[in-house]
Amino acid sequence: MNARALDRAFHAAAWGALGLVLAATALVVGPLAARGAPHLTWRFLAGRPSADLADGGVLPAIVGTAVCTLLMTVAVLPLGVGTAVFLSEYAPSRSRAARVVRASLRNLAAVPSVVFGLFGLGFFVLGVGRGLDRLLYPALGPVFGRPCVLWSAATLAALTLPVVAVTAEESLRAIPRAQREAAAALGATRAEVVLRVALPQARGGILTGAILAVGRGAGEVAPILFTGVASFAPDPPTDVRDMFMHLAHHVHVLATQAHDLDAARPALEASALALFLVTLGLNVAALVARDRTRGGRP
C-alpha cells in the first residue's frame, strides 16, 4: 500500500473512531435528555413515590442518596487524607511500609463493586452489626445487624478510599519541598508542617478527591444493594439505623422490577436523567477543581 493511501486510511480511521466516541457521548446524553426532560418536574423532585413506584416523586431517593454520601464522605475523607499524609510525609518513599500501603490502595481500587457488596453484607451488616447488637441490645431483635444507611455508607467509604487517598497524595506531593523545609527550619514540628503548610495547600486536590468520591457514591448500586438500600422507603432516613432509598437504585428498580412498566416509564426516564445530571454536575465540579489546582494543564 503506498504511503499516501495509508495516510488517508489512517486519518479516516482515527478521525472516524474519535467521532464515534464523541457520538457515543451524544448517544448517552441525547435519549436521556429527550425522554426524561418532559417528566423532570418540581413535583417529581419534591414529591414522594406512590406505593407501586409508578407515580409520584423521588424526594426520598434524593434525600437518601444525600444522607448516604454525606456519611460516606465523613468516613472516607479523614481515612483517605490520613493515608495520603502517611504516604507523602511520614513514610520514606521506597520503604516497605509505603510499598505495602500503595499496593493495598491499588488492590482496593481493583476490587469489583459487587464484591464490595458481598464484603459489606458479610462484614458490616452481619459481622460488626450483629456484634454491636449483642453488646448493646442483647434482648431485642436485630437493630444494627440488618441493612441500614450506616453500613451502606461504610461500604461505599471502602469503595472510594483509593480515589480520595490517591488524589490527596498527588496534591501533597505537588507542594515544593522547600516550603516544608523552611517551616521546619523555623522550628515547626512535623505535625505542624503538615497541618499548617502542606494540608492547606493541598485543599484543592482533597476537594477533587472528595467530589470524585461523592460522584461514585451517588452512582454505584451494587455495594449498597444488600447493605442498606430499600426499594420503597417513603420516609427519608432520620437515624443511621434506617434503610433508605437511593436514586441510582431507584433507576435500577424501575427499569427491571416495576409492576407496570408503561406506567412507570415517565418516572424511570426522569430518574435516569436526574441521576445523570447529578453525576455530571459532580464530575464537572471535580474537573474544575482539578484544573484550578493544576493551573489549567489539559
Binding site: A3, D7, F10, H11, A14, W15, G16, A17, L18, V21, L22, T25, L27, V28, L79, T83, L87, E89, Y90, A91, S104, N107, L108, A110, V111, P112, S113, V114, V115, F116, L118, F119, L121, G122, F123, L126, G127, A165, T189, R190, A191, E192, G219, E220, V221, A222, L225, F226, V251, H252, A255, T256, A272, L275, F276, T279, L280, N283, V284, P298
Partner: protein
C-alpha cells in the same frame, strides 16, 4: 518545645500510621472475609454437592447453574463463560475504536480542540453504570435487534455493547497518555527521515507505546469483567452455555451475585458458592491488574 506541641506531633504521627494501617486492614479484611465465607463451598459437606460439582459436568455432560430446585446444581462454568464472553465482546468492540480514537486525540487533534474533547471523553467515563444499563436495555437492545434480527432481545451482545460504552473512555484516556509519553525526539527523527503522519504513528508511536496500551487493555478487560449493573439489566440473565453465539443470553458472575444474594439463607451452600464467585472475581481482577503492571514494568526495564 512545649509538651503540648510534642504531644500533638506524636498524636498526629500516630494518626497517620493508623490511617495507613486501616487502609491495609481494609483490603486484607475484604480478601479474608470473602474468602472465609467462600470456604464452605470448597470443602465436602453432608447434604451439599461435592466441590468438584462446581466445575465438573453433571448428568449427560451438561454444565448447569440451577440453584433453586429439588436437586440444586451449582456449576459455575456457564457463569464464567458468560463473564468471559461479555467482557471479550466488549473489549473487541471498545479496543479498536478506543485505540484509534486515542491516536486521533494524541496526534491529529489541535491543542485548542483537545481542551474540550478530552473533558467530553472523561465525562462519558463518569456516567453511572445504571444509566448505561438503562440505555442498553432500551436503546441499544432495539438497535441490536434491528441489526442482527436476533431472537432474544436481551443478550450477551447488548450487554457487551453497554459495557463497551463504559470502558471505551478508559481505553481512550490511558492509550492517549501512553502515546503522548513517547519521546518527542523519536517521533521527530521519524519525521525527519521523511515519514508521513500515518507512518510515524503506526510504525513508531504505536510500537513504542505498545506495553502501556496493552496494560490499558488488560485494565479495561478487568473492569469489563467486574461490571455488574449493565449486565444485570441488559444481558438476559439466563445461564445458557453457548460460548460462540453472541446473541444468546448470558449470565455473568457479577450479575449472579447481585441477583441471588438477596435470596440465600444464612449458612446455605448457595450463599457459600456466591461468596466463592466473589472471591474468584476478586482474585481474577487482581491478577489482571498485576499482569498489567508487570507488562509495563517489563517493558521499561527492557528499555533502560
Amino acid at each position: 518545645m512545649s509538651p503540648r506541641r510534642r504531644l500533638l506531633d506524636r498524636a498526629f504521627a500516630a494518626a497517620a500510621w493508623l490511617c495507613a494501617a486501616l487502609t491495609v486492614g481494609c483490603v486484607v479484611s475484604v480478601f479474608a472475609f470473602v474468602g472465609r465465607e467462600a470456604l464452605p463451598a470448597l470443602v465436602a459437606r453432608p447434604g451439599a454437592p461435592p466441590p468438584r460439582a462446581l466445575v465438573a459436568p453433571g448428568l449427560g455432560g451438561a454444565f448447569t447453574w440451577q440453584p433453586v430446585g429439588r436437586r440444586p446444581k451449582f456449576n459455575v462454568v456457564p457463569l464464567a463463560v458468560g463473564s468471559a464472553k461479555v467482557a471479550a465482546l466488549a473489549l473487541a468492540l471498545a479496543a479498536p475504536v478506543g485505540v484509534a480514537a486515542a491516536c486521533a486525540l494524541a496526534f491529529l487533534v489541535s491543542r485548542r480542540a483537545r481542551r474540550w474533547v478530552k473533558p467530553v471523553v472523561e465525562l462519558l467515563a463518569g456516567v453511572p453504570s445504571v444509566v448505561l444499563g438503562y440505555l442498553a436495555l432500551t436503546v441499544l437492545a432495539a438497535w441490536v435487534q434491528a441489526l442482527t434480527g436476533c431472537r432474544y432481545r436481551l443478550n450477551a451482545l447488548v450487554a457487551a455493547a453497554g459495557v463497551a460504552l463504559a470502558i471505551t473512555p478508559w481505553i481512550v484516556t490511558l492509550a492517549d497518555e501512553a502515546l503522548r509519553a513517547v519521546p518527542r525526539e523519536t517521533l521527530e527523527g521519524a519525521y525527519a527521515l521523511g515519514a508521513s503522519r500515518a507512518q510515524v504513528v503506526l510504525g513508531v508511536a504505536l510500537p513504542a507505546a505498545r506495553p502501556a496500551i496493552l496494560a490499558a487493555l488488560l485494565l479495561a478487560f478487568g473492569r469489563a469483567v467486574g461490571e455488574t449493573m449493565i449486565v444485570l439489566m441488559a444481558s438476559g440473565n439466563a445461564p445458557v452455555l453457548r460460548p460462540l453465539d453472541p446473541t444468546a443470553s448470558a449470565r455473568t458472575l457479577t450479575a449472579t451475585i447481585a441477583a441471588e444474594l438477596g435470596e440465600v439463607a444464612d449458612g446455605s451452600h448457595h450463599r457459600a458458592v456466591l461468596f466463592l464467585l466473589g472471591a474468584v472475581l476478586f482474585v481474577g481482577t487482581l491478577a489482571l491488574n498485576l499482569a498489567a503492571e508487570r507488562v509495563v514494568a517489563c517493558a521499561s526495564r527492557r528499555e533502560s
